[in-house]
Amino acid sequence: AEAAELRARLRAVRHTVLVLSGKGGVGKSTFSALLAHGLAADETKQVALLDIDICGPSIPKMMGLEGEQVHQSGSGWSPVYVEENLGVMSVGFLLSSPDDAVIWRGPKKNGLIKQFLRDVDWGEVDYLIVDTPPGTSDEHLSIVQYLSATHIDGAVIVTTPQEVSLQDVRKEINFCRKVKLPIIGVVENMSGFVCPKCKSESQIFPPTTGGAEKMCQNMNVSLLGKVPLDPLIGRSCDRGQSFLAEAPESPATLSYRNIIQRIQEYCEQHHLQEEKIM
């Protein structure tokens, strides 16, 4: 009956993309936020961004929605809208103060994630993007389990170039395989830094074992793209602005846009294939 409830609620969602890592601090939330902004630039598309990082929800701040509250209506919880076609849900909106720690064990976290999926009235959605915390634990198992009521197009896995990140990301790739979650591809963030003054390039996080490129080759997954470090990214996140809008000429923006396009193409193709099979 629960599965039926979830299925009913998620029936109007066309595409679902999970943003995962394994490693913390590599830019999952940043990427999720920009993916949402990028997709919502097409006003004909309805985009939903669900933040299931319950201990460290970054999405409200990154989307400029700190301090917003969730409203209830007859049809369920209302997402908080950034644009008319971009709605957001996060535990961040449920806290009385942004510094309140959510010190919950797994089962309680799972309960909230289920509520997010069951009780939020997303309406008709073209893209549901789910931002996750680092790791391979309760939140990840639960979201895959609950979303099996609908259809997940796939996961985008975010990393940075150094081996300490890659070793966690390989585990995440194996997690996806274990739970039969298709992998759309890998994004390598913080991939080099070009000095805006002298234009020379530095590897702030040297890819000592070949970076995401080598890892993707070895594990037979797609490398969606590499995004260079740009201090404006961090600043835009802190200010709740879309980096893509704030720095349209940045090489990082170009990379992000290419990656977003590849994800869109994957989802559309996937849909066509599914329809053919049916």
Binding site: G22, C55, T136, V164, K171
Partner: protein, 160 residues
């Protein structure tokens, strides 16, 4: 008579926490352990990041295995003089890329074991490296360590 616990010989227990991932907790834990060792202290590291254990690679012992003794598990001895004691789930994986896909209760059980069943011996400092967040690992680690009166926590962040 109470049995001598595995933590009875540990003078100071320090937790390294953040909340945020990727800010350098494991890096700091490793550097702190090495610096204390250099200063002549007896040091151990307990890595309770079960999903993303970074310490073994940072100390170049990712291929090591743990052994059992009468009082529990023997930590892996690392560092130049093999004098830093380390315990991490990294040593218990069959393959380094195996994902540890456990829900809270299973994680809690292993953390309790890591706290009570590792034969640390006599240490001046035991540094406990944690994963990001405020969840199962943190609650269980603090609960299991409380009777041993940890010295305190070091919080790591980045500027943004």
């Amino acid at each position: 008579l109470a049995e001598r616990t595995n933590l009875a010989g540990v003078q100071h227990i320090l937790l390294v926490l953040s909340g945020k991932g990727g800010v350098g907790k494991s890096t700091l834990s490793t550097e702190l352990a090495l610096a204390l060792r250099n200063a002549g202290k007896r040091v151990g590291i307990l890595d309770v990041d079960l999903c993303g254990p970074s310490i073994p690679r940072m100390l170049r012992v990712q291929d090591s295995a743990v052994h059992q003794c009468d009082s529990g598990w023997v930590p892996v001895f690392v560092g130049q003089d093999k004098a830093i004691a380390l315990m991490s789930i990294g040593f218990l994986l069959e393959r380094p890329d195996d994902a540890v896909v456990w829900r809270g209760p299973k994680k809690n059980a292993l953390i309790k074991q890591f706290v009570t069943d590792v034969a640390w011996g006599d240490l001046d400092f035991l540094i406990v490296d944690t994963p990001p967040g405020t969840s199962d690992e943190h609650i269980s680690t603090v609960e299991a360590l409380r009777p041993h009166q940890p010295l305190g926590a070091i919080l790591v962040t980045t500027p943004q």
